[in-house]
């Protein structure tokens, strides 16, 4: 896991065993809940596991975050960040 100062935490889960992408994404989203919710940090998840794309995005939105998904090279990039005041449940 690498951190770009002040802004984005990158979680590279490409090639991980199923269901590590979801488990580790949940673990990190929970661990960084305060920073993510406040907008101080965004979480950038790299996964090559297709099954994890809907499950991570669904879990993140359920937790009140905004998620964007991008398919790049041979993997998916999921950017999890604060959804603003309305997004927090």
């Amino acid at each position: 896991m690498t951190t770009t100062p002040g802004r984005t935490v990158e979680l590279d889960l490409r090639g991980h065993v199923c269901p590590a992408s979801l488990l580790l994404s949940l673990k990190n989203m929970n661990a960084m809940r305060e920073e993510l919710s406040s907008g101080r940090v965004a979480l950038r998840i790299l996964t090559a596991n297709r099954e994890s794309v809907p499950t991570i995005t669904d879990a993140a939105r359920t937790m009140g975050y905004a998620v964007t998904v991008e398919h790049t090279e041979a993997h998916y990039v999921l950017l999890v960040e604060s959804a603003g005041e309305e997004g927090i449940r």
């Binding site: 090639g15 991980h16 065993v17 488990l23 998904v69």
Partner: protein, 368 residues
């Protein structure tokens, strides 16, 4: 049923379609257990039930139309506690490996390194079983629960159609209820080229029925893994290989209705099982690879944490061992035996539950 010499291409085509569908949908036979235990995600379990019930209906329709060369299919055997134990060990292994035998093949086809190590584990586990085969055969025989019947309808002495009807009607009602509640749809953003799991579940039951009609047996792949393991052993340790009774066993030895004898076993030779299963295996791997390439998603990532690679290999070993102990892997039992209510398969499925639960506890520790 096709002449066995003509089965290669249809078996490969079925395997390729299975691999393609599984890659696109993410449908696998581990998720129904693991995802429920880990995340309380019941969608994969619903889809497994759909695949089982639709296979049940299609198998029964094919039987009534006289299309099934064997019923029950060969190599099913009689119910034994060994099936329960095999299911339990397989359950642990499939969760650790991140996929069952077919799941490992399709993920390997898409370039997943953990699945590749799990496949090597499958071969190693099959070879390991050969060492315990004589002792396990005694256990299996001693713990056999009945020598007179294999399926529940046989045991009860009733028409299989009645049992299928008794299961299918309430299941369809349940499926419609889930449909009304929107419970078949995966929420969240879908990956590119996504095929809904329910479509894959129905597709797999159609493909499973096709291979049953064409070859006389449902989808099965793990005897071919034993064949590959036997081949490796015969090349690198021929002296030891010659001492192993397992590779001389012939579990498939039946007269086909079309005439001739269907024979096959784990020995690394060309026989009926090689003709059916090896093209299936190749098809699953290449079908999934094709799907991944078409989506520009084929890539081998090397930065996998070593504990995950080790778990994949260990899981593969357990699956290879358990598929021999339990006379088949989970796809053979869940999508082949359970749809005809075969008692050995129901016992294997019952064993999968505690095994997958234990595997989930272990995997959580390894990953997090």
């Amino acid at each position: 049923m096709m002449p066995i010499g003509s089965i290669y291409i249809p078996a490969f085509a079925v395997g390729a379609a299975v691999g393609f569908l599984m890659h696109r949908s993410g449908f696998c036979l581990v998720c129904p257990f693991r995802n429920f235990f880990l995340f309380r995600d019941a969608l994969p379990a619903r889809n497994l039930l759909l695949a089982v019930v639709s296979s049940m209906v299609l198998f029964e329709a094919a039987r009534r139309l006289g299309l099934l060369p064997f019923y029950p299919f060969p190599m099913l055997g009689f119910p034994s506690v060994s099936h329960l134990i095999g299911g339990g060990v397989f359950g642990v292994g499939m969760v650790l490996a991140g996929g069952c035998a077919v799941g490992v093949l399709y993920r390997m086809g898409a370039g997943n390194l953990v699945a590749g190590t799990a496949f090597l584990g499958l071969l190693a586990g099959s070879a390991a079983y050969a060492e315990i085969h004589p002792a396990w055969s005694v256990v299996k025989e001693r713990w056999t629960l009945s020598h007179g019947w294999s399926t529940i309808p046989q045991g009860l002495g009733i028409d299989p159609g009645l049992v299928v009807l008794a299961v299918a009607v309430p299941s369809v009602a349940l499926f419609l209820r889930w449909r009304a509640a929107g419970s078949w749809t995966r929420r969240g953003t879908l990956p590119r080229g996504y095929v809904p799991m329910w479509a894959a579940a129905i597709g797999l039951s159609v493909l499973g029925t096709a291979i049953y009609v064409l070859s006389g047996m449902p989808i099965g792949i793990t005897t071919s893994c034993a064949k590959m393991a036997g081949w490796v052993e015969s090349v690198f340790a021929p002296g030891h290989f010659a001492t192993l009774d397992y590779f001389r066993s012939v579990p498939l030895n039946v007269a086909s209705r079309a005439g001739g004898i269907l024979r096959g076993g784990p020995a690394p030779v060309s026989d009926a099982l090689a003709a059916i299963q090896l093209p299936l295996v190749a098809g699953v791997v290449l079908g999934s690879a094709l799907s991944a390439v078409l989506l520009s998603e084929f890539r081998v990532y090397r930065g996998v944490p070593p504990p995950q690679l080790a778990a994949g290999f260990a899981g593969g070993i357990l699956m290879g061992l358990a598929s021999r102990m339990g006379s088949g892997c989970n796809v053979w039992h869940l999508l082949g035996g359970v749809p005809i209510l075969a008692a050995p398969s129901l016992l294997f499925a019952a064993g999968l539950l505690p095994g997958a639960w234990a595997g989930t506890l272990l995997l959580r520790k390894i990953i997090t």
